[in-house]
Symmetry: C2
Subunit: 202 residues, 2 copies
């Protein structure tokens, strides 16, 4: 059978590197196989399409990111959830560049491959559930305004704070945590009431 010279993980890894170096749009089937010195046939033997590759790549990182975020939310540690973004970015710089510098649509534009749709939907639902839980904790309600605040403080602000550094491919400095923390306390002061406090509030 020609014992596999290439496996899925290698294609994924090559694609990951290309995303980080040049962005998702520059990840073509040719560029991936060339980097691996693999023939196109091998690629299509393992992946149904380019979308299947890029979708899997994105989902992998998204799930990895989510893990720590969900853990913090489950512990009702709102500030921890907000600070998870810079923390995870430091620990997984490559994955962070891939996931946080681009949007899901940059990976798969139209319809997702059916094999991945369920995963993507679940991912989105988990985020929504987390925001709901946090909104109740921090604001005492889960109306659209509270949900909007939750998203702002847990996702949008941390993402915005981290992005400029990821663009330079460098780990977010401590200042980023400070900015996120200040914002968090300004907008959701009640949210870490019951939490262990080790914060160095600015």
């Amino acid at each position: 059978m020609a014992r596999s010279a290439f496996d899925n993980a290698q294609f994924l890894a090559a694609a990951r590197q290309l995303v980080i170096e040049r962005g998702p749009a520059m990840v073509t089937v040719d560029s991936v196989t060339q980097r691996l010195k693999a023939p196109k046939g091998s690629f299509y033997y393992r992946f149904a399409s380019r979308d299947a590759l890029l979708g899997e790549l994105w989902l992998q990182s998204a799930v990895a990111y989510q893990e720590g975020f969900m853990a913090a939310i489950d512990a009702d540690d709102g500030l921890g959830a907000a600070l998870h973004t810079p923390a995870w970015a430091r620990a997984h710089l490559d994955d962070a560049c891939l996931l946080l510098l681009y949007s899901r649509e940059d990976f798969v534009a139209g319809d997702w491959p059916s094999a991945l749709r369920k995963g993507v939907r679940e991912q989105a639902e988990r985020v929504k559930d987390a925001l709901t839980r946090f909104a109740r904790l921090a604001f005492g309600a889960t109306g659209s305004g509270q949900m909007r605040r939750a998203a702002f403080v847990l996702l949008e602000v941390p993402l915005a704070a981290v992005k400029p550094h990821l663009k330079r491919r460098e780990a977010p400095p401590p200042l980023v945590d400070e900015l996120i923390r200040s914002t968090f306390q300004a907008i959701a002061p009640r949210a870490d009431a019951g939490r262990a406090r080790k914060s160095t509030v600015a």
Copy 2:
């Protein structure tokens, strides 16, 4: 001479619509000319390349956006500058979608057409000068940490707050201003000390 059936502005307008509807990547010379029912020759008679079109489009919006931002900065109205983003987005929803939902690289990837390079550089310099001025006002210094804070509070946070609404092509609600204001006061409390105050601080 065949008195011009199409002018630059029409191509720009068609391209703008396409950006808003489908994103910059979907703006091809063919899609633009088809929408206008113009022949390709007319397009290339007026624009040197696709990059020239998209570059001009981006720069137009960037300069328009900058106007109000700079006015606020020149008046040492830091909070006004931070709130300029949602205000401008309300007044110019289409331009805001174009400018704030995508990055400069989504319009012109590699080298910019030489005719636009100067404009882009000046644009970037004006932003930097504005941030410097604000950093001095708000933090009393212009080191890298202060500059980082300035960018966070004047650009990154307002952008992050506005984005989810622009994605749905809807005007940012008042809550967005409140989020930006709270963040601003948490991070740059000194900055609007000397300002006329009409803010409804949350």
